[in-house]
Symmetry: C2
């Protein structure tokens, strides 16, 4: 019997101006998965921890299960697999919780089989699981960031075209996760279907600036380019005191700050660990002041993506 | 009496997906200007050649004149200036003809005074002249590309934030200018004011990809990222057989092809001079076949922008 344990990281997507096209992996939190090959055919989820009982053990209704099913079918694998899923991050946090489970699952299986597929080829299978979360066409930004590691651009979904870009080696990310659950499908529904061309032009000027700032290590350009004219103004309504948290981060020295994914988590960039910690203190203080419980994560960008861990 | 002669290059803007935010300078064509300091106060345009009599000699109604007036006022220069403008490129070609005149004018005057301002600071004055052309808020992409040289991102117009980015050293540009005059103000009016968010996301995925492709020298990524979902489908209607020209360019080996600025010029990228020439032949052939006269320019990206030339 072969067995593997894999960690897959949380990810921050949208990254200010880059709605649906940019994302990066962080070092923590992240999910863990254990896969066991069995002789009895079929995929079974034997154990889920850390989900507060919210996730289904039916593999067809579970992100990790459904992703694995699509990969197993593709590879025409005929034996069985048992899954243990250990959620080490909150659901609906805006940190790509479901993507981490999906990626952990397909990455682990590909490793067990001796890497028949390249990392990039796994994206489409992890996306099959993501369909459960977003209720329709999945967006590849969390899956791509989690799987590829580093900073990614999802240039196109059809065909899938994901590109890794450089970023400053000392770029730190501070994340606060306010304890409010937000459903991704709803945060998408509140966005307007049509936008002004003039706003779109300002947005893609910032997207261009963000990529240029990241690859050249120009922090001022990164900070200015994070400004989101389209999505943050709408989604921030769902996060109490969002702008107070953001202003506190900027005042404490953050390079920039915006919503992580569809929220409610909020991320900020800093130029050093020390600065990222100060920024985190300032952000927490605002949430504590209005009685919203929260978690704080401080992390460099995660270059690697998922990795095998020992038991 | 002090005198200077300056060349300022044509520029390609929009660059496929980067509507209103991206541009680059080319080596030829370009405008030439001669400035003479005189003791008698006031700005006079003494001579214009190459414009077919279309441009005004009233400095307040001439791009080069109006740009210079705004700069002269800013620098509180009290003596006089005489301008000779030699247009070496067609008006309304989509190659930043008016921007080249405006840039030549402010660049020349700044040189004459011993560079009181940095290049970037001249953008705002050249833009004053551009207001004459676009009938309203000027767009800085042609001016920025022409003045800064190389490849530029206009991240923001207010405040003006222009960034140079790297590009592959062997990137060649083929331009065909079909002899049809298109008025910039009209090509803007035919664009829809509202666009689908889903199209905007595809567009800024490509903008991100284009910047990443240019700085990393990934030609495949550059080519894929040039795809414009918003502007090319509308403006191409004004250019007879645009898609035949584009397909001929791609078939002949071009990395990508789109409209230059607001047209009617069409640009294509190639990986070598030889390829750029083949692409040019293919593009010309289509236009010749339907009896549309045209000019062909083959050029590397112009790193320098404007330069002083001898008489």
């Amino acid at each position: 019997m072969k067995k593997i344990k894999v960690f897959a990281p949380a990810s921050v997507t949208n990254v200010g101006s880059g709605f649906d096209v940019m994302g990066f992996a962080i070092e923590k939190p992240g999910d863990e998965i254990v896969l066991k090959m069995t002789d009895e055919p079929g995929i079974k989820i034997t154990k889920i921890t850390g989900d507060g009982g919210k996730l289904s053990k039916d593999p067809y209704k579970n992100t990790a299960g459904l992703s694995l099913i699509s990969l197993v079918e593709h590879l025409e694998y005929k034996k069985g697999i048992e899954i243990e899923l250990h959620k080490k991050m909150a659901l609906g946090s805006g940190l790509g919780s479901s993507a981490a489970s999906a990626v952990a699952s397909v990455y682990a299986f590909n490793e067990l089989l001796g890497k028949p597929l390249a990392k990039k080829e796994l994206i489409q299978f992890a996306l099959e699981g993501e369909k459960l979360t977003c209720g329709g066409t999945p967006h590849a930004d969390n899956v791509a960031a989690c799987l590829m590691g580093g900073f990614v651009i999802v240039r196109s979904l059809s065909p899938i075209d994901v590109v890794n870009i450089d970023y400053p080696p000392n770029l730190y990310c501070t994340i606060v996760h306010p304890h409010l659950e937000i459903i991704t499908a709803n945060t998408r529904k509140i966005l307007r279907k049509h936008i002004l061309l003039s706003d779109a032009v300002k947005q893609w000027g910032n997207v261009a600036g963000l990529v240029a700032g990241l690859v050249s290590g120009n922090y001022e350009l990164i900070g200015n380019s994070l400004q989101d004219f389209i999505v943050e103004p709408v989604r921030s309504i769902l996060i109490p005191n969002f702008y107070e948290v953001k202003n506190a981060a900027l005042k404490a020295g953050a390079v920039g700050c915006s919503i992580s994914g569809s929220g409610p988590s909020i991320f900020a960039f800093s130029k050093s660990k020390n600065s990222a910690e100060k920024v985190g203190d300032a952000m927490k203080k605002v949430l504590n002041g209005i009685g919203i419980g929260n978690d704080l994560y401080i992390s460099k960008i995660n270059k690697t993506g998922p990795r095998i861990i020992s038991d």
